[in-house]
């Protein structure tokens, strides 16, 4: 029996992943902002085989609340085996460029609140001697680009933080997975044209996440071909990269 905490549970990738774990009979503690949407997801997961599905709506930008939130999850589930941190928002890059406030708000949501939760969960898992922490990063965090470097910087910070965490917890029985999806057809990316071959459905990402947990992977690009694309992107010399319109 797996006890799973999902933060950002109403995100499309998180919901698709939860459905796959529900089919395996998992128990859930779902955290999200919108109570109505959470209730709909709870009902759905129970019919899909999820056991004891709990939920809580909270604004995750309120970092001081994180320890109490995790305590409630531990209490409800009787211990957390796996935590998936999936919340985030795609900021409007052009608007961020004109507003420090918006930029910092995006960093708060996509990086600081993730780091806060990851720190608490890592300590929880370390004390228990086991646990799996899965965090949704992004290919955008691999290199700064003019079209979305605020979001990219936040995801990049999370990626680097998780590297350190993984290194620290390697011999503590705690497993840390960084998931880097490419373009995914979700409500968060609704404003984009999604006709290309590069776009994936949330369930494809979910399948990759479940496989990464089973195979104890460290960093996974989803779908897998993004690994090769990002190798090229990361290795372009900055003198050339700065001239590209990406």
């Amino acid at each position: 029996m797996r006890n799973i905490l999902i933060v950002g549970a109403t995100s499309a990738i998180a919901e698709a992943t939860a459905r796959r774990f529900a089919a395996l009979g998992a128990r859930f503690y779902l955290v999200g902002r919108n109570a109505e949407k959470l209730a709909a997801i709870v009902g759905d997961l129970e019919i899909r085989g999820g056991q004891a599905v709990h939920s809580e709506s909270i604004d995750l930008d309120w970092l001081e609340q994180h320890p109490a939130l995790l305590a409630r999850a531990v209490q409800a589930l009787g211990g957390i085996d796996l935590a998936l941190i999936a919340h985030g928002s795609l900021p409007d890059q052009a608007a961020c460029q004109k507003s420090v406030k918006m930029t910092l708000a995006a960093i708060q949501t996509n990086a600081l609140s993730v780091i806060s939760l990851a720190t608490e969960l890592a300590n929880l898992f370390e004390a228990r001697g086991r646990g799996t922490l899965v965090v949704i990063g992004s290919v955008a965090g691999d290199r700064g680009r003019q079209s979305n470097y605020v979001y990219g910087a936040a995801k990049g910070m999370v990626g680097l933080f998780l590297q350190g965490l993984r290194n620290r917890l390697n011999d503590k029985g705690v497993h840390v997975i960084t998931v880097k999806p490419g373009f995914v057809d979700t409500p968060m990316t609704a404003a984009f044209e999604k006709k290309g071959l590069l776009w994936a459905q949330p369930d494809q990402i979910a399948r990759g996440i479940v496989a990464a947990v089973e195979r104890r992977r460290d960093v996974v690009y989803l779908p897998g071909f993004w690994r090769w694309i990002m190798i090229v992107i990361r290795h372009l010399p900055e003198s050339i990269f700065k001239r590209l319109k990406l």
């Binding site: 919108n34 009902g43 019919i47 609704a190 404003a191 006709k195």
Partner: protein, 439 residues
Amino acid sequence: MGRAVTDRAPDGSWGRYPPARHRRWALNHRSDRLPGGSNRVLPFGNGRSYGDVCLNDGGTLLLTRGLDRWIAFDPATGVLRAEAGVLLSEILAFSVPQGWFLPVTPGTQFVTLGGAVANDVHGKNHHVAGSFGEQTRAFELYRSDGSRIVCGPEENGDWFRATIGGLGLTGLIAWVEIRLRRIANPWMVAENRRFANLDDFFALNDDYETRYPYIVSWIDCAAAGKGLGRGIYMAGMHAPPGAPTAPPPARRSLTVPFALPISLVNRWSVRAFNRLYYHLPRPARALTPYQPFFYPLDNLLEWNRLYGQRGFLQYQCVIPPEAARDALREILNRIASSGQGSMLAVLKRFGARTSGGLLSFPRPGVTLALDFPHLGQKTLDLLSRLDEVTRQAGGAVYPAKDARMSGEHFRCYFPQWSTFAKFIDPNFSSSFWRRVTAD
């Protein structure tokens, strides 16, 4: 909340005709709000309607596939409530392993629950179970003014009857409740019989309808003269307990990768295919998995692309019992003499049942479904000539498959259209509705 998608690509229906352009608004939760403003909207499920009932040229499509959650399921009674964007294939994947099957299913499982209600779809068991609307216990109608109306045969019955077969115009169907039927296993007992002409078909039908819940026939509509109306009669029932317990082998599916510049379906391929299909040896009685029995085309994904860039037109009519023989003969004659063959011609007798839907298509009589590659004006002319026969016989044409019938014909086929019109949401519209009410 719903999100606006500004989409530069045109959107199409299954027949790839007529062309249309839309703004799109993706719904992901049944609590999402509908777009405001004066832009007319239309719910769009999985785009399996053939013509323009699922199109809203120049307006906004409400994409409902994101509404795909289960709400309640009672494994003791088979009552299932789910969001309207769930596909029938998703219901089957969930319910068949637990011994439950859809009460009514059309010839593809890739339609949404909401679309099945909005088009009041029918299947091979119409003579015993009626259409989808008859098996619908309740649904929630979400109107553009923000109100939500729970409808059932008794509760808000007038809204219920307007929305069943209501082509998505009365508001957004947010969820649907149906009762599934018990099955012992995923297998079917299927029987195939060749018939030499229409008279043979009617004789077979009288015999089989009393014994089999699922019946459909394929007709060789390239055959003329003595062989006019020859075809294959197919009947089936869910296999009794004791049939193999092993699950059916997974079917491999093929995808037609893109639409060819011209149609692969033409008069020569139609003639060859029909002759071959008629003479193909097939077992008289066999055990078969439910998928190939109900959904023979579903493992050829995107098969509509075979008809090329110009797409194709479907023609499905129903003819009242007393006029059926003569009218069908006349229709088949007109097709044969036009030289425009239909690859898939399907014949079935509807039962004397009704779902009560104001715009429902199924009614007592014989229904014939045909599809034609779109060759331009001459195809439209042929279908108009078929409309003359249908109208004269007191029949009707199926809106879910139509892209071209005249407003005059529509209003004659569906005399309750003006009663229905009072239930249309003021913010909802479709290409189809504007077309058939314009003149």
